[in-house]
């Protein structure tokens, strides 16, 4: 779900709709739903580990962008068109709006343990491969872009091989300071706290390990995370 610039909520349903491939919808705060678009095979969606596309990100131009087999653009009126087609999208593609006005995307290839790719595009359609072949495994999500325009992303750990790894992509497209933390398993995006730390959650592995919330420094060389203990309140 995405909060639009108009204060409404925009989302994607992965099933149902007129063609069975899901819908794009708008909800207001009162719960009134408007179907903006019913996805069909003509939209070039499906596959790549997702039923359809999503979630949306809204560009500075007011349009919404989502990724399936290609990057789709949807206007506020629900008109969907194929915008750009990165040369390699990979499994479980994901988009994130950057601070610099570009939209960044990620995907992984060769599940479960191969590499991740990052691409970005401007709203004018300038497509760049920001970094490819980043070692890691599991899903690869983009987390946030810092004020110095570095992009952070996280490989989630799977049961198969390598650990959860946080990577930083510098503004010139160099992957710097990958930080692995084998003691943790994270399957959620990190959040930039604005205080020099990124915050994240881990999932527990047993009833005695219900998971945790951690923070990690992102100034200079990222450091392994420090647990923030959960204290029921």
């Amino acid at each position: 779900l995405t909060v639009g610039q108009d204060g409404n909520f925009y989302g994607v349903a992965s099933g149902g709709g007129a063609f069975g491939l899901g819908t794009a919808f708008r909800l207001n705060a009162q719960g009134d739903l408007t179907v903006l678009h019913a996805f069909s095979t003509a939209d070039n969606v499906g596959g790549y580990g997702r039923n359809v596309v999503g979630p949306f990100v809204q560009g500075d131009d007011g349009n919404f962008y989502a990724v399936g087999r290609a990057v789709l653009r949807m206007t506020l009126a629900g008109d969907v068109s194929q915008f750009v087609t990165p040369w390699e999208i990979g499994l479980e593609p994901f988009l994130m709006a950057g601070r610099d006005g570009r939209i960044y995307g990620s995907g992984v290839n060769g599940m479960p343990c191969d590499h991740g790719d990052i691409f970005s595009f401007s709203l004018a359609g300038d497509l760049r491969g920001g970094g490819t072949g980043i070692e890691g495994c599991g899903s690869f999500w983009l987390d946030f872009q810092t004020v110095d325009l570095s992009v952070f992303g996280t490989f989630t750990m799977t049961e198969h091989c390598c650990p959860t790894t946080v990577v930083r992509l510098t503004p010139d497209g160099v992957v710097a300071n990958p930080t692995a933390f084998p003691a943790f398993s994270s399957d959620a995006r990190l959040t930039d706290g604005g205080d020099g730390y990124a915050y994240g959650v881990t999932f527990g592995s047993s009833p005695s390990d219900p998971g945790s919330i951690f923070k990690m420094s992102i100034l200079g060389t990222p450091k392994p995370p420090t647990n923030v203990r959960l204290t029921p309140g």
Partner: protein, 79 residues
């Protein structure tokens, strides 16, 4: 979760008419938290729910604003 690590559970989904498998939460313009669930659930004597749109007030009170069903609006809002 506060900056000092104090954790407060606002709402636990029952997996019935309130839905299940909540997706990523977003902060609404009114300061409340909004989100969707993307699991088929069913309360006793109720029709199946194919996802919900909900609001959680700062007090933790959950209000289901929209229930997805098997119709042309789509099901399982997970994106």
């Amino acid at each position: 979760v506060s900056r000092t690590g104090v954790f407060t559970s606002l709402y636990s989904f029952l997996g019935l008419g309130d839905g299940g498998l909540p997706e990523r939460l977003v902060l609404g313009p009114d300061g409340a938290v909004y989100g969707t669930t993307a699991e088929v659930t069913q309360g006793p004597g109720q029709p199946p729910v194919h996802g919900t749109f909900f609001r959680i007030a700062p007090s933790g009170a959950l209000q289901t604003l929209y229930v997805f069903s098997r119709d042309a609006t789509g099901t399982l809002p997970d994106g």
